[in-house]
Symmetry: C3
């Protein structure tokens, strides 16, 4: 790989994996890499404007899924979630060690020029509209555009 | 990366991740990329000929695992599986939005020349025989062959 | 990718994914590739010296997490874990088919020159000390160092 370019697919909606995505993204951007993140499926919950739960979408199923998934405040830990208490405690542990929290990591990634993209197909399936996503999302793209972006990048599926 | 080549390790046997694998694969193949998928461990369930459940293998453990895992009809969602109901509803949501279903994505990937490989070691551990796999599986290979194939490819572990 | 170099992020603490990490690592090293593994978050449990459970760390939360996670003996299967019985049975299945067990894969990877690194930030959050890790861990590094190492490598997030 010649280019200093990092391309991340954020498929997961787990709290710990979202922390990994934004730690890698802001770490890479801080040392001058170009970073793109492609949010798809459960990962879309990480970049919803509404950080809480809401019944959005048209169909019954989409409404149920969207409510269950919730927004950034409801990302579960991939293990030992304990009904959502652990991500709160984990944030406490991160603060206690002067490690940036997820919110801080996201802000820092944005400030360092990390670009956020959302997956068109997943938005269709889950009935999520553009206006429901973080205003800093650059564009809604499909797989071919993502592949083109990633061709000379280090690419990870998280 | 110079070559337009995508190499996917399909380790997961989750429905949503299998959708991701075949969306990426058929999307890449549609714009002229060479695509190889290496199915290993739980991922082998995605390419079993028998899409239902069966007690296959010799040892008690292998028989139990193979029954529990089931075939393509029994892939669970990685979240909110609800005893297998959700993948069925998710397929309904995909149809409702004119998004290709998993079966359609697999057919389309094959038609576009995506090559499927199965992991030799995982087949040994789980006691899965070549004849139990989809007839379109090109070959059963080990890690060195997979690495050689992937050397100039964009490679993702899913 | 020109270099025969493999860089693995071992984020998961699942038994089956640890097997995947060390199968890829030792397979690649056996055919002459340079291999680095970066252990972070749950993955740190794979390289703890103490393979059992212990209350380590200072804060209440870290002590609870460290006890729950346990060491290498307690890695769960990502599916069908059945309270920890399945990894034991899976090891039996691996032995029964003359496939290397996880312990053997780790020893073989080390013997073949695979280099192990631990993630500084994750160690801070989980309050894991250097002396608690396997003596063969080469160094404790951060994201920028990892990215530099991986720039010309095939990189997978597992």
């Amino acid at each position: 790989m010649n280019a200093k370019k990092l391309s991340l697919v954020c498929f997961s909606g787990d709290f710990d994996k979202a922390v990994a995505v934004f730690t890698l993204a802001s770490g890479a951007a801080a040392v001058g890499w170009e970073v793109n993140i492609f949010f798809t499926f459960w990962g879309l919950n990480v970049i919803r404007k509404n950080k809480g739960r809401a019944f959005t979408g048209q169909s019954f199923m989409a409404r149920a899924f969207n409510f269950l998934m919730g927004g950034r405040k409801h990302l579960p830990l991939s293990r030992f979630n304990f009904a959502g208490i652990s991500p709160v405690l984990m944030t406490g542990m991160m603060k206690g060690h002067n490690v940036a929290t997820l919110e801080e990591l996201i802000d820092s990634a944005k400030a360092l020029g990390v670009k956020l993209y959302a997956c068109e197909m997943a938005m269709n399936i889950l009935e999520i509209k553009k206006e429901e996503l973080d205003d800093d999302v650059v564009d809604i793209i499909g797989v071919p555009t993502f592949l083109e972006q990633s061709q000379d990048a280090q690419t990870l599926f998280i």
